[in-house]
């Protein structure tokens, strides 16, 4: 089950995929904490 792909290729793909996911997530997400319905009180508890 372990082959060269997992040890030699997959790790490099993980770096690029994680960077891509991070960039897409950050750009696609709405302005954080702009929605007044969101609880943004630092001292407030759940």
């Amino acid at each position: 089950m372990i082959n060269d792909f997992i040890i030699l290729i997959l790790p490099i793909l993980v770096v690029f995929i994680s960077l891509a996911v991070f960039f897409i997530w950050v750009f696609k997400s709405k302005e954080p904490y702009s929605n007044s319905s969101k609880n943004t009180n630092v001292k407030g508890d759940t």
Partner: protein, 444 residues
């Protein structure tokens, strides 16, 4: 002890690299966040993100400056403390060593231009484009130097003739089997550490009652990075386990106190080892987990330490560093996951003080995890400096003046370790976020 140049050389290398790795890791991780913050600021016309990029760049520049000092020292110490290693194998790895320096200069030159050209372009996207070489240079620098470390673990690309390394193939040496898993693990953990440092700073300010949206934006951006890169790090950690099982089974066996070659091998957490009896007390055993980690199969056979001569065993205390590294990694992943769940499911407060405290703790914990992981990989290679070819004890300097160097450099790192936070704190308290936002006429 004070007259043993091998031990003293090891200590000096440990202290130098242990200090440098903090600057290097944060220096590799933060440029990604600077670049993305500036791009968001430009695209969304949001000056808070621009200010984030500006302030992060200032802190990053100081870390790079200190990193230059320690990085230069490492270059010298490689030749001074490990002359036989550099004489024998230096020419095999000279390409990535040179390329690492080149990548650093590439990063540093563009960092200088980036710093001094804020607001100088009519179209700010041109300024953002200057951040790309900084990101590429810092990550490339990590890539090249990690290939050298990978080479020390799985040496390739040369023939050994009468004790000399001949027929050198630099690219084969660079792209050795350890390279992909090591480079990948180093890069994602550097991004993760950078993200947690930035998130911890934002959490610190929020906990102190600074509730400006600027800090919340900083926290949210960094926490997305924390989660994505912690997941990537877990995947890479799993791949590293498989790499070790195949190419350095003695390191995996030592890290897991796995003495007998068995199938259905158990993963051990914690415990106290009786080395003579090869028995472990108080440890938590997870059935099949080591076989799954090593070969993705619960029934897989994992090689034990007793298959190797005892004088070639790595020190067995690396088990604790292995455990601590994994535990901190899991903590970082859990904290970032909980934050995102709280944020996206409005039932919970994602700025809960306890969660913010956990994020704040995540900053230093991420650095500790880097240190533990590095100790695991370096000590786990012992007694070899170049696995299978050169031993640490054979390659150290025979000079009788290493102790003086050790004292001198320890004092230097102590001074830098005190000065660095003092400078950073002064820099950021002198120019507060609020005053800088006021200066840019942004409505609060």
């Amino acid at each position: 002890m004070l007259e043993d140049p091998v031990l003293l050389s090891r200590w000096l290398t440990f202290i130098t690299l242990g200090f440098h790795i903090i600057m290097a890791t944060i220096g590799v991780g933060i440029p990604i966040f600077i670049s993305i913050a500036e791009l968001i600021g430009i695209k969304k016309k949001d000056h808070h993100y621009i200010l984030l990029a500006k302030r992060w760049t200032r802190g990053y520049t100081i870390l790079v400056a200190v990193g230059v000092v320690t990085g230069t020292i490492i270059g010298f110490q490689l030749s001074l403390l490990w002359p036989s290693f550099m004489q024998s194998a230096g020419h095999v790895i000279s390409l990535p060593l040179f390329m690492e320096t080149f990548a650093f200069f590439f990063e540093a030159i563009f960092l200088g231009i980036y710093l001094y050209t804020w607001d100088r372009f009519k179209n700010p996207i041109f300024h953002w484009m200057l951040s790309i070489p900084i990101v590429i240079g810092s990550s490339a620098s990590a890539f090249f130097i990690t290939t050298v470390n990978a080479f020390m673990n799985t040496p390739r690309g040369f023939d050994l003739e009468n004790g000399a390394f001949t027929n050198v193939q630099p690219f084969v040496a660079m792209f050795n089997p350890a390279m992909p898993s090591k480079v990948s693990h180093v890069l994602t953990t550097a991004y993760l550490t950078g993200a947690f440092i930035l998130a911890a700073i934002a959490a610190f300010h929020l906990l102190r009652g600074k509730t400006h949206i600027y800090y919340k934006k900083a926290l949210h951006l960094a926490m997305i990075g924390c989660f994505v890169f912690s997941v990537a790090t877990i995947v890479n950690g799993d791949i590293s386990g498989k790499f070790l099982a195949y190419y350095q089974p003695e390191k995996l066996a030592a890290a897991e106190w796995h003495f007998e070659t068995t199938d259905r091998a158990k993963l051990l957490l914690g415990g106290i080892l009786n080395e003579d009896e090869q028995e472990v007390k108080f440890g938590i055993e997870i059935p099949y987990a080591l076989s799954i980690l090593a070969f993705n199969r619960p029934s897989a056979e994992v090689i034990g330490l007793n298959d190797f001569p005892q004088d070639l065993w790595p020190p067995l205390y690396i088990h604790y560093f292995f455990n601590l590294m994994i535990m901190i990694g899991m903590f970082l992943a859990a904290v970032s996951f909980i934050y995102l769940v709280f944020y996206y499911f409005n039932r919970f407060n994602s700025l809960n003080p306890w969660l913010l405290r956990a994020i704040l703790l995540g900053g230093p914990m991420a650095i500790l995890s880097i240190e533990f992981g590095w100790i695991l990989t370096e000590v786990g290679r012992q007694p070899w400096i170049l696995r299978g070819y050169l031993k640490v004890a054979e390659t150290a300097t025979t000079s009788g003046h290493v102790f003086e160097m050790l004292i001198l450099f320890s004092l230097l790192y102590l001074a830098l370790g005190i000065l660095l936070p003092v400078i950073l704190i002064r820099l950021f308290t002198k120019k507060s976020v609020e005053s800088e936002i006021d200066k840019h006429h942004i409505i609060l």
